[in-house]
């Protein structure tokens, strides 16, 4: 059981990848990519967790209270920002693909010469 959160990580990763591979719609594919990326949040927060520790905020607890690792939490924040940027760009590419080719099915798009 002590590895359970890390098993959840690879499960989310594979479910998302399966969606990316079998997707028939670009917007659905982008959402699947977001699912893939969500696995990294679980991984980062799972790695830095310490049993019985508090969140790394010392406003109402004494400074020397054991707290979980704040470095991975800062990394998770970066992760979210990058995801937002990537999603925005991919969605605008999907709009342009639809304008140009009239379809959002990645398998049809792959067979077009663009």
């Amino acid at each position: 059981m002590q590895y359970f959160p890390f098993v959840v990580v690879v499960w989310i990763l594979c479910v998302g990848l399966y969606g990316v591979v079998t997707s028939r719609h670009l917007v659905h594919q982008i959402i699947c990519l977001i699912v893939v990326q969500s696995s990294t949040y679980v991984l980062l927060l799972g790695v830095g967790y310490l049993t019985g520790a508090v969140a790394p905020y010392f406003y109402d607890v004494p400074v020397h209270t054991p707290a979980v690792d704040p470095v991975v939490q800062a990394l998770a924040l970066t992760d979210v920002v990058v995801e937002a940027a990537v999603t925005a760009l991919l969605l605008s590419f999907a709009i342009q693909a639809h304008k140009r080719f009239g379809t959002l099915d990645p398998q049809e798009l792959a067979s077009l010469k663009g």
Partner: protein, 253 residues
């Protein structure tokens, strides 16, 4: 490649990935036994060094501030990228607002949505502002607050029309705010250099009460600028995507 083949190749690859991953897990410290030293060192010294009680923000805006400059400019570049990809291409024209299907019943925005959106706009602005200005105190900061500030403008869109959103957030003004936010962060870093300190070194007075709004020097200031940048970037991106509904291809499909 047929979808069935594609699925089989994926399943074989995923089985291999899962096997190697599970093999790699054995021997790692289990969940809840993290041994890494850096986070715990920072937890011990951060409050004393910066007078901020939110250690995650301290890392983002001070210890690892240089990375966060890059992170902020990723968002800046994304907003510019979306605007570039979705620029008006040759052959595109703006669709007139003439109703092209007058015989069809278009449901108008219900008054319930209008009321709720209007009611929430004010509180959402206050909450976003509060989050953007309390990075040093609690789990908040410019990134979170900025996104919530941008949500207020989406609520305006929900309660009215896209054109109303445009009136509340003119593109030129939003771009200026975004540039001020992004440039402000970099400028704080450069001012430290101008004083002979390392880039992004905290040079403002740290205040007396840990975690107070006036504490932590540049951390609070940087968070404020990040909030401006993030809110403006999201308003620009959402506006660009919504504007696409007004554009059609000439002789469009």
């Amino acid at each position: 490649m047929r979808p069935a083949q594609r699925r089989w190749i994926f399943l074989v690859g995923a089985a291999g990935l899962a096997a190697f991953y599970l093999w790699g897990l054995s021997g790692l410290p289990g969940f809840g036994n993290y041994p890494g030293p850096y986070g715990f060192i920072i937890n011990r010294i951060a409050v004393g060094q910066t007078n901020a009680t939110g250690v995650v923000s301290t890392i983002n805006f001070d210890y690892r501030g240089f990375d966060t400059v890059g992170e902020e400019f990723i968002l800046f570049a994304a907003a510019a990228g979306v605007a570039t990809v979705l620029r008006r291409l040759r052959g595109e024209r703006e669709q007139s607002t003439v109703d092209e299907a007058a015989d069809r019943d278009v449901p108008t925005t219900s008054s319930a949505i209008r009321m709720v959106a209007l009611l929430f706009t004010g509180p959402v602005v206050v909450m976003g502002w509060w989050l953007a200005s309390h990075a040093q105190t609690n789990p908040s900061g410019g990134f979170q607050g900025g996104v919530i500030l941008a949500t207020a403008f989406v609520l305006i869109y929900l309660s009215g029309e896209f054109l109303v959103l445009k009136r509340f957030s003119p593109v030129a003004l939003t771009e200026v705010v975004e540039a001020v936010g992004a440039g402000g962060f970099a400028a704080i870093g450069v001012s430290a250099v101008a004083m002979g300190l390392p880039y992004l070194k905290d040079f403002l007075p740290l205040g007396t009460v840990p975690g107070a709004v006036s504490s932590s020097g540049t951390i609070a200031l940087i968070s404020f600028f990040v909030g401006l940048e993030v809110a403006a970037a999201f308003i620009l991106i959402i506006g660009e995507l919504l504007e696409q509904t007004l554009l059609i291809r000439q002789g469009g499909r």
